[in-house]
């Protein structure tokens, strides 16, 4: 089965490795050649500026997990159904459970390794040569724990979609929709609430934390330590997640993605078990 997995998916794996390891190499090269930026909050320049600008367009890096789901996950079973090779694959000595679990384990491991190589080097670049002063929350999506988990999730969404739909293109579409919907839900509704946000009336910066909102309240409605700051006679109140919560949040998000991953794997196995080839 190891040989089969390698033979059938090596082209996709090569391409994904080229993308992920290529990006990782860029971040390593840039970080090593430039060295750490000063403690001063300055705007990045040169290649850092280019990378920084790309970072701002978050969508550039956001679809990476979806790519894995589309090109590695979706065809895993859908292509076998389309070419009817499932009738060959599932009538050999190896059971369909063994067949599916080996593929998921091997390819899932490859996904996690590649994604981790990318996300750790990316994190290293960002916190040393990129824009460390902006705090780690700005690159939360590409975080060392949440990113590989999101990639693994996208992979199994693709597998489950392909198992159910049996059409590669349709499964790719469902994979995009699924991963996109998941990321919207995570970023907008779940992530801000992993822990109760800190409310600060100092009007001060979030000091590298994740800014959520700012309001102004009348002094008579205000409860807490008033530092005396006023804007038009109102007390400015900032709500944010402090920077030191980054790793806790990473663990929580990775855990949630892994939970969804297990659910998708369960769907795939259940469907494969009762499938008519």
């Amino acid at each position: 089965m190891i040989w089969m997995t390698w033979r059938q998916h090596r082209t996709t794996l090569f391409i994904l490795a080229a993308v992920f390891l290529g990006l990782a190499a860029v971040f390593v090269a840039v970080t090593v050649s430039a060295g750490p930026v000063s403690e001063h909050p300055t705007n990045p320049t040169g290649i850092h500026e280019l990378l920084y600008r790309l970072e701002l367009v978050n969508e550039v890096l956001l679809p990476l997990p979806a790519l894995i789901g589309m090109f590695l996950g979706a065809p895993l079973l859908a292509a076998e159904y389309e070419h009817r090779t499932v009738r060959y694959a599932w009538t050999q000595s190896v059971s369909r459970w063994h067949w599916l679990s080996t593929k998921l384990l091997l390819l899932g491991s490859a996904v996690v390794l590649l994604a981790t190589a990318f996300s750790t080097t990316h994190m290293w670049w960002y916190t040393t040569a990129g824009a460390p002063h902006e705090g780690p929350f700005r690159i939360f999506n590409q975080g060392p724990l949440s990113f590989p988990a999101a990639c693994l999730f996208a992979f199994v969404v693709g597998v489950a979609a392909g198992t159910v739909l049996r059409r590669t293109v349709a499964a790719m579409g469902l994979t995009i929709a699924g991963t996109w919907a998941a990321s919207i839900v995570f970023v907008n509704w779940l992530r801000p609430n992993y822990m109760t946000p800190v409310t600060d009336a100092n009007g001060a910066s979030t000091s590298g934390g994740w800014f959520l909102s700012q309001t102004a309240v009348r002094p008579e409605d205000f409860v807490g330590v008033d530092s005396g700051g006023r804007i038009n006679g109102l007390i400015p109140v900032t709500t944010f997640q402090p920077a030191d919560r980054f790793w806790t949040f990473q663990v929580i998000e990775a855990g949630l993605y892994l939970g969804l991953t297990v659910a998708c794997v369960a769907v795939a196995f259940w469907w494969v078990r009762r499938a008519v080839a």
Binding site: M4, R7, H83, R84, T85, A89, S93, W97, V276
Partner: protein, 292 residues
């Protein structure tokens, strides 16, 4: 080797409301070449899919080679080739053999490589690039290298031209002589199976219409031709399964050989194709009573 290659007891498979196969009970002795015959949609593929575990039965039981069909059981002793000879088209022939080796516990590479060398099919060719006939031969070589005790072929030559059909079946018959296995072939063309099979299973509308050793079946049935006016007198002493009107004369398919006693009646042997066609034309009820 076990005595029975295929045993089905009240086997049935339902698709939604319709039954693809129903009340199927049969026992096929090992070592036979079994022809599975019936019109399109008669349940041939359903039965084959049940055998190789691609379908699960709705009712009843199915045993192959004395083992219940299920995951990790009998499939290592069974090989299956579907109608399209489905193989990985982007694999080379040699890679297809490697796939067979890694996916199976029993595998003899030499069986496949010898056969392919004899047929002049290069191992370096891509499976998707060779002709349909050669692809069928690769599928057969891959199946035979598993050293199956039971080889199941669903309409194996339906998609091939006459020459490729002959070559494919010639390889299959030679393989049967080399390795004593049970072979099940399905077809909707009876004449195709006449020289290949020695055991027959006829399905229609998801039910078994006729089964048995072909030579015995031919011995057990006769066609009687005679004038319609004396039909009642003659048929009173015969087990008539089916009758056909022919302009004042009738043709009766009878089971068992009993004297007719009327010189205006002719008794003839029946060939396999006629026999099958007559059984397909009779109501299931009649056929079931014969084998009850």
């Amino acid at each position: 080797m076990t005595q029975s290659a295929i045993t089905a007891r009240n086997l049935g498979r339902r698709y939604g409301r319709a039954w693809g196969l129903q009340h199927c009970s049969l026992e096929v002795p090992a070592g036979r070449v079994v022809g599975l015959v019936g019109p399109n949609g008669a349940g041939k593929s359903t039965l084959m899919n049940l055998m190789v575990g691609l379908l699960r039965p709705t009712t009843g039981e199915l045993e192959l080679l004395g083992e219940r069909v299920g995951p990790n059981t009998v499939l290592e002793r069974v090989a299956y080739i579907d109608q399209e000879h489905s193989l990985y088209r982007d694999f080379t022939v040699r890679e297809m053999l490697t796939a067979g080796r890694v996916l199976n516990r029993r595998w003899d590479d030499k069986i496949a490589t010898d056969r392919l060398a004899e047929l002049g099919i290069p191992l370096t060719a891509k499976v998707g690039r060779i002709s349909g006939g050669q692809r069928a031969q690769v599928a057969l070589a891959v199946a035979l290298a598993k050293q199956p005790e039971l080889l199941i072929l669903d309409e194996p030559v339906a998609s091939l031209d006459p020459l490729a059909r002959r070559e494919m079946m010639s390889t299959l018959m030679a393989a049967k002589a080399d390795h004593d296995c049970t072979i099940v072939l399905s077809s909707h063309v009876v004449s195709e199976l006449e020289r290949l099979c020695d055991y027959l299973v006829v399905l229609d509308h998801g039910r078994v219409q006729l089964l048995g050793d072909i030579d015995e079946l031919l011995e057990q049935h006769r066609l009687l031709f005679g004038p319609a006016v004396t039909e009642d007198l003659v048929s009173a002493h015969q087990h008539v399964l089916h009758r056909e009107d022919l302009n004042g004369r009738v043709s009766l398919l009878v089971r068992g050989i009993r004297p007719v006693g009327d010189p205006s009646w002719q008794v003839q042997r029946v060939n396999l194709e006629e026999l099958v066609m007559r059984y397909l034309a009779m109501p299931s009820r009649v056929a079931e009573e014969v084998f009850a």
